[in-house]
Amino acid sequence: MTPMSDELLAWEGNDDLPSVDTVLLPSRAMLRSWREQTLPARRFAIDDALEHFRSVPDNQIGLRDMALLAVISESMQVLEDLAYLGTAWDKPFTGLPNYVRSITFGKFVANSFWQGVHKWDDLRVGVFAGFYGRDPADQGPADILDGFRETDPFTLEHRGALEAARQAAIARVRGILIDLGRDWQQFSPYFLAFKHGALAINRDDTAFVDDEVEEVTDETLRHHPSVAIWTRGVRRDELKADFAMTPNDVADAASGSGRLAASCLDAFVTSRLALVEAVEFSSDGAVVGLRNVQIPWTHWLRAGDLTEEHWATIGRGPRIRWVPRPEELVEPDEQDAKNGETSPNDASEGAG
């Protein structure tokens, strides 16, 4: 391998990259599309739904109910997206690139994912956060940094900062996933009712009253839920209503959840894309080089999650700098076999 510039090392076609046609290029397109197309669309949809909800006068109760259900729905869609991507990296189809699972419909993907996250161990959360991949052979977690073939080049200081970032991020991501899982449990019935038949309860023809009421009159005490739906499917719980919050509270809670999920999606996609974008392609899809990258480990974190020293050391995350192996250190018969080397050795170049 020969340096093309400070940031790019020429690739001469004999390294052990995954298949360009079936893995690298499709993954690149999928992930870039997530970043450039899907996330902006999802964020627009949440913002638009919230703005619409806030614009509807309180006395237009039917319209307001639908607008509130839309805020919930647009927000929960992002949680469903996250479930698909999270599942794809947590339980990929054996022998296939991760993205294939993310595009494969499953009736229970979202429910299974969100009902299970609170039981995840650190390694599983670490896979979600991008610190580990799944070994294609046994699905076991494999450290992402081990994928870059090199003897350990990190100093003790770097290793300490990286490990602190990893632990802090896992703790934070676990908290986020548990919170989002609760939100999914709370809001997904409304999401289903909205998208499958707009099953908002017509308030003009109904009243929520105490259980003992037998006849509703003008004097009967009525209760006013923030949102009320006929549930999807035939079950004993034929309707669902929320009496704990105001409509504005529901809108804020649901949209907050959707926006948090969108930030998670962003971080999830960015961390995977950093690896894919380490490969530089020509316009016809041939690999021309390997680009220095920084794996954005710390985008999950807030300022107080690490010490100032660790932030100064790690910045945005470990920086992978590809270096040509000094020829004098390589036996002639090894040179062809070890034509490309990596050196994830420069964490301190992080931008912070």
């Binding site: 499709p26 999928m30 599309s33 099953l199 309860i201």
Partner: protein, 297 residues
């Protein structure tokens, strides 16, 4: 706390026979849902249009186009659900359990046997119903001409809604289940998306995306890339057809609710009376006045 239905009706058993109180309240509440669906389709269209005019990135614009399509298809799903519900017994259960396959079947039946579906959905009276109400032969003829105009309009709307649903429901569903839809410029690059691009076709009309919905069959994963047009004309069509589907849904719900509330098994709405001849308008107005007087007595 429990839910009480506060609506009153002179014949409880009739309401139950027509699908029950829950269905009736749901049908009566359609107007707000229609207004909502139409407003949000328009809002997504405005954002799409503005992003295109501002020359924002292609992927950003196609993403907004997909939101237009998704919102249009939600309106079409409302309509498909009610068509399915009214096409069989236990309509309230059918509203709440309609599957994609159910709605496909309802839409397919709508284009195969449009007249029956329109009569069933709109409770549209036939000549004998009118004779039974004491309407004169001339008045019946005038009402049948009005009925013909209504049939033509609703047939056209049903066919348009059916095409919207059957052509795009997979993409819209995908946009709600993990969004396996790749921006066109990312599929065809440069660089292109390898095998993914090899299996897909670009649109010849401009902006587009490629839906790559996949299904698992045993150990096989089957992916059929579908090109989704997201050029201005196509997205304008999604907006138009989605808003129309919402309107049609609202008209069906209103006709059904009116029919249940009035206790009449069928009727002919007078919304399109104006394009008729002066003579027809006079005859119909006379018939309406007389039958209303009879009802009052």
């Amino acid at each position: 706390v429990k839910l009480a239905i506060t609506l009153e009706h002179h014949d409880h058993a009739y309401v139950e026979r027509r699908g029950g109180w829950e269905l009736l309240t749901h049908l009566r509440g359609a107007e707000a849902r229609v207004e909502f669906r139409r407003q949000v389709i328009r809002r997504a269209w405005d954002a799409f249009d503005q992003a295109g005019a501002a020359d924002e990135s292609q992927a950003r614009v196609t993403g907004l186009g997909l939101i237009v399509l998704q919102r249009a298809l939600l309106a079409a799903e409302d309509l498909g659900g009610v068509l399915h519900a009214l096409g069989g017994p236990d309509p309230w259960v059918r509203v709440r359990t309609a599957s994609i396959a159910d709605m496909d079947a309802a839409y397919e039946r709508a284009v195969r046997d449009t007249e029956t579906v329109v009569e069933e959905s709109f409770r549209l009276a036939v000549a004998n119903d009118l004779h039974d109400e004491g309407v004169t032969p001339d008045e019946v003829d005038a009402l049948m001409r009005l009925r013909g105009r209504l049939m033509t309009r609703w047939e056209r709307m049903l066919i348009t809604a059916t095409r919207l649903w059957l052509d795009h429901r997979d993409v819209a569903k995908a946009s709600m289940h993990g969004f396996p839809i790749v921006a066109g410029n990312e599929v065809f690059g440069p660089p292109s998306a390898g095998k993914l691009a090899a299996a897909a076709r670009p649109s010849t009309h401009g902006r587009f995306a490629v839906a790559v919905n996949s299904r698992q069959h045993g150990r096989d994963i089957q992916t059929t890339p579908t090109t989704v047009r997201l050029d201005d004309d196509a997205v304008a069509g999604y907006r138009r057809d989605g808003r129309m589907a919402a309107r049609l849904y609202g008209e069906i719900c209103a006709m059904q609710a009116q029919s249940i509330m009035s206790g009449h098994k069928a009727g002919i709405p007078l919304g399109l009376i104006k394009p008729g001849s002066e003579r027809d308008i006079q005859l119909i107005e006379a018939a309406v006045e007389r039958t209303n007087d009879d009802a009052d007595e």
